[in-house]
Symmetry: C2
Subunit: 444 residues, 2 copies
C-alpha cells in the first residue's frame, strides 16, 4: 500500500503504448545502477536506505533538542542554503497552517530561515523581527565555509552572545555538519554545541530526511517519527516494485520519453497554496541532478488555480515544449462550504452549499482536459493527504524517481560540477587569499 497514485491517463495523446515497453530495458538498467551501485558516483546513494538505516540515538537527540527549543524559544533561526534550507522549508509549509509564520501566538516556535541570501536588509529585518523574543539557532553546512551561512552564523551567534552571554548562547546553538571535518565541527569541539551529522553519502538535495531537515521540522511541532515511517514505506515500495506498480519508475520513464520528443520544460504544479515550496525543493532535486552536459529537463513551477490567471495563457497556447506534473491532494486538510446568499449576482449560485475542495478538484480536472487539448502532456501525482507520513513517501518518491531519471538520461545524478564556477569568480573579486591570479584574469 502506498499513499501515492501516479496517473498517466492524460498522456494517451502524447505517448503510444509501445513506448513504455521499448524504454523499459534502459529504465531497468538505470534502476539497477541505482540499486546495485554499479553506476557512477555510487557512494552518494546513502539517502536510498536512510528511512530505515539511520542513527536512532541521533534521532532521539533531535527530538530532545526540538523539545528544548520549544521550551525556551519563540523563534528558531535556521541558517542554511540550497539543500540545507529547501527541504525543511518545503516540509514546514506542507505540514502547517498557511499562515504559521504570521500567526501572533504559536504553540511552537516560528522557524525562520537565514543565510540563504547575502541581503543586508534581510538580516536587519530579521533582527527586528526577533526583537526581544527568545530565540535559538540551527546552523546547517557540511563544510562550514559556504559564504552565505558563514556570514549569517557570525551575525546570529553574536546576537545570541550579546543577549544571553557566551555560556547560554552555546546552549542555544545547534550545529548540523560533517561528522569529523570542517569549520563547524571544529566550532562544535571548541564550544560544546549540540551537534548532528550530515552523512558523507548524502548530497544536499537528498538530505531532507537527515538531521538537516529533521531538526527544524521537529522543532516546528511536526511528527518526525511519522515522516520517517512514510519514507520507509516509500523505500520498501519504490526500491522493490516492478514498473507496472511503481509510480516513481513510471514518472522517470515518461518524463524521459516526453523529453526526447521535445518537451524540455517541466512545470510542477499544485492546487494548495502551502505546497508552493514543494516545487522549490523539487527544482533543486531535478535541476541540479539532471541539468548538466548541456542537457536535462528545465524545472519550473506554478501554483493553481492562482497561476491559471497568469501563466495559464502561456501554458494553453505558448510554445509547445511544456509538460506538466501535478501534485494533487486527495483529502485536503480542511474544507469550506460555499455560502448561500439567495441571489445570483455573482454568477455562482449554482455552487451554493458545495464544498470548495470539490470545486477545486473540478478545476483540476478541467485544466487537465484543456491543457492536454492544447498540446501539453500532463502527469498526476495523487497524494492521499498532507500528513507527515504522506510527505515522507512523497519525498522518497521524487528522490528515487529523479535519481533513476538521471541515470536513464545518461548523466551523473549525484554531482554538481557547475555550481563552483561563479564561486571561484566571487572569491577572486572579493580578494580571497589564493585567488590573485584569477582576479587579474577577470579584471582584464
Amino acid at each position: 500500500m502506498t499513499n501515492i497514485k501516479f496517473d498517466i491517463s492524460a498522456l494517451k495523446k502524447f505517448v503510444n503504448e509501445n513506448e513504455i515497453n521499448e524504454i523499459k530495458p534502459m529504465l531497468n538498467t538505470a534502476r539497477d545502477e541505482l540499486l546495485n551501485g554499479n553506476g557512477v558516483e555510487n557512494e552518494m546513494r546513502q539517502w536510498m536506505t536512510l528511512p530505515t538505516d539511520y542513527d536512532k540515538e541521533e534521532f532521539n537527540r533531535i527530538k530532545q533538542a526540538a523539545k528544548k527549543i520549544q521550551s525556551d524559544s519563540k523563534i528558531l533561526v535556521v541558517i542554511g542554503i540550497g539543500g540545507s534550507y529547501l527541504g525543511a522549508k518545503m516540509a514546514l509549509d506542507f505540514l502547517h497552517d498557511n499562515f504559521y509564520e504570521s500567526a501572533d501566538s504559536n504553540k511552537y516556535p516560528k522557524v525562520i530561515f537565514a543565510g540563504n541570501s547575502i541581503s543586508g536588509s534581510y538580516v536587519n529585518d530579521l533582527i527586528k523581527l526577533i526583537g526581544d523574543k527568545d530565540f535559538s539557532v540551527n546552523v546547517i553546512s557540511k563544510s562550514g565555509t559556504t559564504t552565505e551561512p558563514s556570514i549569517a552564523f557570525r551575525i546570529f551567534r553574536q546576537l545570541l552572545i550579546n543577549k544571553y552571554g557566551k555560556d547560554e548562547a552555546n546552549q542555544r546553538i545547534y550545529v548540523t555538519t560533517d561528522a569529523k571535518n570542517g569549520a563547524l565541527r571544529q566550532e562544535v569541539n571548541e564550544n560544546g554545541y549540540e551537534s548532528f551529522i550530515i552523512p558523507n553519502g548524502i548530497g544536499g538535495r537528498y538530505s531532507v530526511l537527515s538531521a538537516v531537515g529533521l531538526l527544524p521540522i521537529a522543532a516546528s511541532g511536526a511528527n518526525i517519527d511519522n515522516l520517517m515511517q512514510g519514507a520507509a514505506n516509500g523505500q520498501e515500495h519504490y526500491m522493490n516494485a516492478e514498473l507496472e506498480d511503481n509510480g516513481a519508475l513510471q514518472y522517470a520513464a515518461y518524463r524521459n520519453i516526453l523529453y526526447r520528443k521535445g518537451y524540455t520544460n517541466e512545470i510542477l504544479e499544485n492546487y494548495e497554496p502551502n505546497l508552493r515550496f514543494l516545487a522549490e525543493w523539487w527544482k533543486q532535486l531535478a535541476g541540479e541532478t539532471e541539468g548538466k552536459d548541456n542537457k536535462g529537463i528545465y524545472p519550473s513551477s506554478a501554483n493553481f488555480s492562482t497561476d491559471l490567471h497568469s501563466l495559464g495563457q502561456y501554458i494553453q497556447q505558448g510554445m509547445r515544449n511544456l509538460m506538466e506534473t501535478v501534485v494533487r491532494i486527495d483529502e485536503p486538510k480542511s474544507d469550506f462550504k460555499i455560502p448561500v446568499t439567495g441571489n445570483n449576482n455573482d454568477g455562482i449560485q449554482y455552487l451554493e452549499g458545495k464544498s470548495m475542495n470539490d470545486v477545486n478538484n473540478k478545476a483540476f480536472q478541467s485544466v487537465i482536459i484543456a491543457h492536454t487539448n492544447g498540446g501539453v502532456p500532463n502527469m498526476v501525482v495523487n497524494l492521499k493527504n498532507q500528513s507527515e507520513y504522506s510527505l515522507g513517501e512523497l519525498i522518497y518518491f521524487f528522490e528515487f524517481a529523479i535519481a533513476v531519471s538521471g541515470y536513464l538520461n545518461g548523466i551523473n545524478p549525484f554531482n554538481q560540477p557547475g555550481v563552483e564556477d561563479y564561486k571561484q569568480n566571487m572569491f577572486a573579486l572579493l580578494g580571497k587569499p589564493g585567488y590573485e591570479e584569477l582576479k587579474k584574469k577577470i579584471e582584464k
Copy 2:
C-alpha cells in the same frame, strides 16, 4: 533622468553589433503600433498614459479609504486573482520589510490576499488568522463573476456581517470593479459600498497603477503619490526616448533577438528576497502577453543568491536555451557589516568588516561572468533603489517593454484567448446552467 540603467554589456558574446540596427526598423514599427494605436487591440492601451492621465478625485478617495482602513483595521483582506492580485502583492513585498506579514505589531494593517485559489484550508487558516482582529475587505474583479474571488467575497462578506452587523460591514467593504456593469457594480449600487474603477482600456496584467493596485498599496502605508510620479517619469521617458537612450525598447529588442536564436526560456532574477514577487507579476505580464499562437518566450524566475544553490547547476550547464534578466538594486534599503571574530575557522576572515551589500554585488558580478561563460546571455536592469518612485518607473519599464516586445513578435499583446478554455470545462463539470452539452461531451 531615469532611475533605471539597462545594461547589455554581457551580451557581446551572443549578439553582434549589427543585429540591433537590423532589427531597428521592425522595433520602430512595433513601438509605433503601440504609440499611435495602429496595432491590433489598440483600445487596450490606456495603461500607457495612466501615470499622468488618471482620475484625481478617485485618487484622493483611494487615499482617504486607505486612511480609514488604517484607522479601523488590523488586517485588510484583498480579494482578487491574476492581475487583481499580483501587482499589489509585488509592490507590498518590494516596498516593505521582509517580514511585514509576520511582524507582531504593525503600524499599518497587514494586507492578506484571498480569492486567489480555491483551497478550503486556506480560507479556514485565514479566518483563524483574523480571529477577533478588526478587518476590512477590498474585493477586486472587473466582471464580478470570476469564480475564485466570487467565492471568497461571499465568505468574507458574511464574516464581516456576522462580526459587525450589515451596516458597519457595508462601511468595511471596498469594491474595485467596472464603472457601470458587472455583478460587483450592482452590489455597490444596492449596498452603498465605497467603490473604485477598473477602466475599460486596461487589462488585468497592466492594472497595478489603477485602483486595483493603489488601494492595497496605500492601505499598507506606502506613498502612492511617489509611485505615480515615478511611473509618470517612466512614461515621459520610455514613450519618447530613442532606442539609444531607451532601456525598455532595448530590452524588447534584445530579448527578441535572443529568442530567435533559440533562447526560448527567460529567467527573471534578483538579489533581494523581497523582490520575489516582482518575477511573479512579470511572469503574468510577459507570459500572458506573449505566450500565444504556439510561440513566445517562456517566463520563469530565480531568487539569488538563494537559487544559485538549487537552479545554479542547471543554469550553468543544462540545456542552452536560457537567457537571464537580472533586476539589481543599486542602493539596497539597508546594509550590515560582516562581524569580526578574530579567527578564520569559517574561511571568511577576508570578508570581516565588509558590507554585505558589497559582497552581494560581487556575487552578482561573478554570476554574470560564470553564466555568460557557460553560454547563457545576461541582461541587467539596474534600479536605483527600492523607493515607491523607483518602483513606479520599474513597472512602467516592464509594461512598455513587454507591449512593444509582443507587437515585435507579431502577436496581439492585449488579448488572452487561451484562459477561457479550462473555465468552460470547469463550468460544465460543475453543472453550471447552460453548459449541459459540453458536460455530455466531456463525460464521453
